[in-house]
Amino acid sequence: MIDEAERALKLAVRECDQAEVFGERRRSIVVKEEEGRIRARISRAQGIGLRVVIDKRIGFSFTSDLLKIDECVRLAIKQARISERDESFRTLPSEERYPTVEGCYDPKSEGISVKEILEKLECMRNSASGARIVTMSFSCVTGDWIVINSEGINVRDRGTCFSASVSVNADGVSHEEDDASRRFDGVRVEWIVENACEIARESVKQQKIEGGKIAAVFTPKAISSLMSYTTLSHLSAESWQRGFSPYNEGDVIGPEFLEIVDDGTVQGGIGSSKMDGEGVAKRRTVLVDHGILKSFMYDSYHAHKVGRESTGNALRSYDTTPRIGPTNLIVGKCNAKLDELMDGRCLLVTDVIGAHTASRASGEFSVVVHNGFMLEGGRKIPAKDVTICGCMPELWRKAEMIGDDYRSVLFIISPSIRFSQVHVVSS
C-alpha cells in the first residue's frame, strides 16, 4: 500500500498544485453468538483516497483496487477541474513533529484466532446472572494508515481496537452494553454483562412516575448519546464559521467547574494516534475551561480560514474526505463522588432512545429514557414511559455535579453528570 500511495502522489503532483494521499488497511475478526448460534467472520479491506488541488479547486477520488492507481489519479484531477475555486482554501498542512502515543497497538492482534475470541465469549456467558444473554459479540480490528502529501507530510501509524457487546433480556426487559479497548485484555467483558443484567433485572416491573422539572443524573452512556448529536457539532469550527453553532469563543457555556478537553494523545485512548486524517499531529486542546469556551475543534481548512493552526481533529477513512470530529473528548472536572450525585429525588437516565433525532443546529432534543430509574427516599423505582426534553446548550448551564465514574463510550470519556430542572414527561 505504501508503494501505491507514493506512486499516486508522484503522478498527482505532475498536474496539480498540491496533493494528499490517505492510505488505510484493516483486518477484522468478529465472532457473534445469537442464542447459541455462532457467526465467525474475517474481513480485510484496504484502499487509498486522493485529494488534489488545482488553482484552489479541490477534487477527491478513492479506490480499493491498488492496481488502478492511474485511474484514481485521473478521476481526482477530473473532479478538481469541474469543481470551483474555493477562495478560502490556503494550503494542505505541512510537515509536523509527531507525539509518541502509547498503548494504541497490541501485538496480540497479529496471531489472534477465533478460538481465543470464543474464550472471551465464554467469560461473558459465565458472567450472566438473572437475565438471559440474547446476543453477544467480540471483535478485533487492526489498522495501518499512511498520510503523505506534497507539502512534506509523510507519516504512518498502526493501531488495534478490541470491543465487546452484549444484549440481555430479563423477563421482557432488554438492555445492551458494550466496551472497547486498544488491548485485547483491556475489554471489560465480565463487567458489561454484569451491568447489563443488573439494569435489566432492576427494570422489570416498571412504574409510572410523576413528571415535571426535576434533577436528573445522566450516566456516561447517556451523556455520550446526547453529546454525539448536539455538543460535538456545536464545538466544531465548521459549525461556528457557517453560523449554526450557538457558541462563540469566550462564551460561558456551563458552570465554573465544567471542562471539556479533546486529547488525541491519551494513552490507550480509543481516538488516539500520532496523526489525524490529514497527517497533522494529534494533541491536547482545551475546548472549555472553567465553563468558558476557549477553542473549537479545527481541521486545516477551517483553521487556515481564521489564521490558526489545525488542532488535529480531521477524521476520515480512505473513501471520505476529512471532516472535523473528536479524538478523545474528556468531560470534567469531577467535583463529587457518584453517590453524591444520586442524593435526593432525581431521575437516573441510564441511556436514551432517539438521540440521533436531536437538532444538531439548535441542540433541542426530546428522547425516551431507556431503563431509567426514579431515585427517591432511598428507593430505586424503575420508570415507565418517560421522555426527557430540552436544549443541550441550556442543559450544560444546569450542570450541578460531575461524578468520578469515568467511562469511555465511543470517543467521549465522561463520568455521570447531574443536571437540575430537567423537563421530564411521563405518560
Partner: protein, 451 residues
C-alpha cells in the same frame, strides 16, 4: 479460481455457501454555503463468501484478492461448534437484469448534476433568515453477482441517486433547520423535477420555525403527515416484525401471528419491488426473489419479514428481506419499502377535533423492539383547535408503546406520499422508503419544553 469453480469447491466442503461479488461506483458533490467543497468519486470492489458448516463462517476482501483464499477463510470460520442452524428451502433463480430509466446517472453529465446543486442553493440563499445551506447530490451504481451452492446465479446493475438540502435559519441566538430529500432507484429525473420546490419548502419551514414555540408536553390527539406516519410505522412496527428480533425474543410481536395488534383500519406490507422506490431490488442478498409481504391486515398480524435462516427457525418461507449494506457485510433481515394502505378519511375530517396536534416532517426515530417502546421526531407541528390548524410548534417528538398506539389509530387518510431514508441496524445502513397516507391517533405522548 473463477466464481463457478469456487462454488464447486465450496460444495465439497460445507452444507451451503454463497458468494457475492460487487463493484460499487459512487459520485457525490456537496455545496456548503455556496462553496463546492467536495466533488468526490471512486470505486469500491470486492467479494465475500458465506459458508454454513457447524456455524456460519464469513470472509470478505476488497481490491485485488484471490477468491479461493476468501473461500478457505470462510470455511475455516464455519468449523466452530454452536447451536444448529440452517436455511429454509427456496426456489433457484438464474437471472441477469439491470435497472435503467431515463436520465440514468451514468448517462447524465457532471455539469448537469452540478447545475441542480448550484441552482438549489441560489433559490434559497437569500430567503429570509437563511444563515447556512448545505446541498448535496450523490449517486451509487452497484454491479452485483450472487451465486450459491444450490445453483442460483443473479447478476444485476442497480443505480440510485439522491438529492438533499438542509437549510439553517438564525435569528439572534435561535437557530432552526429544515431539510428535504429526494431519491430513487433508477434515473435522476425525479430529482430534476422536484428539487426546486423541495428547496424552497425547506427554506420556508426553517424560517417559520424561528417563530414557532416549543410544544406543551402531554398526551394528545395527533395527526401525522405522510412522512411522519411512515417513520412511525417503520420504528414502531417495522423493526419488531423483522424475524431475527422475533426469534431472539426481542420483538413485541413474537407469537402474535393471527392476533389483532392494532386498529382494523390498518393494513401494512413491505415490498422491495415498488418501481423506482429507494429500497427497490428484485432479488435479495440471498438470491431470493423479492415481492410483497403482508405484515398487518386490517389490524391483524399476518406475517414477519424473513431471511432464509429465520424462515428455517420459524418453519416459514423466506420473504426476500435479507439485505447487506455491501459485500463486506453479512445479510440480515431488513425492511425495504414499507407501505401503509390508504384509507378513506379526508384530511378535514381528521382535523375536526377540539384540540390536537398536526405533526409534520421527520427527523428519524428509534425503537426498543423488546418492550415495543419507540420514539420518533417530527420536524415541525401545529396546534389544532376546533378543526383549525393554528400555532406552529417545533422540537416535537412523539413516544409510546407500539401495541397501545396501534390500537388507537382511528383515521387513515386517502392519498399517500413517498419518503426516503437510510435505516441503521447492527452497524449497517441500507436504503429504505415509506409510502404512507396521513394517520390519526387518538392519544400519543409528546415531549416538549413549553412552560
Amino acid at each position: 479460481m473463477d466464481l463457478e469453480a469456487c462454488i464447486r469447491y465450496l460444495e465439497g466442503k460445507v452444507k451451503y455457501a454463497d458468494i457475492r461479488v460487487e463493484n460499487i461506483s459512487s459520485f457525490s458533490m456537496v455545496l456548503r454555503d455556496g462553496v463546492m467543497s467536495e466533488i468526490c468519486g471512486g470505486i469500491e470492489s470486492g467479494a465475500s463468501v458465506r459458508a454454513l458448516g457447524k456455524c456460519w463462517g464469513f470472509a470478505s476482501a476488497n481490491g485485488f484478492f484471490h477468491l479461493k483464499d476468501i473461500c478457505d477463510e470462510a470455511v475455516e470460520c464455519s468449523t466452530v461448534e454452536g447451536e444448529k442452524t440452517g436455511v429454509a428451502e427456496s426456489d433457484v433463480y438464474n437471472e441477469k437484469y439491470e435497472i435503467r430509466e431515463r436520465r440514468d446517472p451514468e448517462e447524465v453529465g457532471v455539469d448537469e448534476k452540478k447545475e441542480i446543486v448550484t441552482d438549489a442553493y441560489s433559490i434559497v440563499k437569500d430567503f429570509r433568515d437563511v444563515k447556512s445551506v448545505t446541498v448535496s447530490y450523490s449517486e451509487c451504481i452497484r454491479r452485483k453477482i450472487y451465486a450459491n451452492t444450490e445453483g442460483c446465479m443473479i447478476e444485476c446493475r442497480i443505480p440510485s441517486a439522491s438529492f438533499s438540502i438542509r437549510v439553517r435559519c438564525r435569528d439572534g441566538s435561535l437557530i432552526q433547520e429544515a431539510s428535504e430529500r429526494i431519491g430513487r432507484v433508477g434515473g435522476i429525473w425525479e430529482i430534476e423535477e422536484r428539487y426546486a420546490e423541495a428547496s424552497m419548502s425547506a427554506a420556508e419551514r426553517a424560517s417559520a420555525l424561528l417563530r414557532a414555540r416549543a410544544p406543551k408536553p402531554g398526551s394528545y390527539v395527533v395527526i401525522m403527515d405522510p412522512k411522519l406516519s411512515g417513520v412511525f410505522m417503520h420504528e414502531a412496527v417495522g423493526h419488531a416484525m423483522e424475524a431475527d428480533h422475533v426469534i431472539t425474543g426481542q420483538s413485541i410481536l413474537r407469537d402474535k401471528i393471527g392476533e389483532r395488534i392494532g386498529s382494523h383500519l390498518l393494513t401494512v406490507f413491505d415490498d422491495p419491488t415498488v418501481g423506482g422506490a429507494f429500497g427497490f431490488y428484485k432479488y435479495d442478498d440471498e438470491g431470493i426473489k423479492a415481492g410483497r409481504t403482508n405484515v398487518i391486515k386490517r389490524g391483524v398480524l399476518v406475517g414477519y419479514l424473513h431471511s432464509r435462516e429465520t424462515a428455517f427457525h420459524l418453519s416459514s418461507r423466506p420473504t426476500g428481506n435479507a439485505r447487506a449494506e455491501e459485500f463486506s457485510e453479512l445479510p440480515i433481515v431488513r425492511m425495504s419499502n414499507l407501505v401503509i394502505e390508504e384509507g378513506d378519511m379526508e384530511f378535514e375530517e381528521m382535523a375536526d377535533v377540539s384540540y390536537g396536534i398536526y405533526a409534520c416532517g421527520m427527523r428519524g426515530g428509534e425503537v426498543d423492539t423488546t418492550k415495543g417502546e419507540f420514539q420518533f421526531a417530527a420536524e415541525e407541528g401545529y396546534v389544532i383547535r376546533n378543526g383549525e390548524i393554528q400555532d406552529r410548534i417545533r422540537n416535537l417528538a412523539l413516544g409510546g408503546r407500539t401495541l397501545e398506539v396501534l390500537s388507537l389509530i382511528d383515521g387513515v387518510g386517502k392519498s399517500s406520499k413517498h419518503s426516503i431514508g437510510y435505516c441503521g441496524k447492527d452497524g449497517q445502513l441500507v436504503q429504505v422508503s415509506e409510502i404512507s397516507p396521513h394517520l390519526r391517533v387518538k392519544k400519543i405522548r409528546i415531549g416538549g419544553t413549553y412552560d
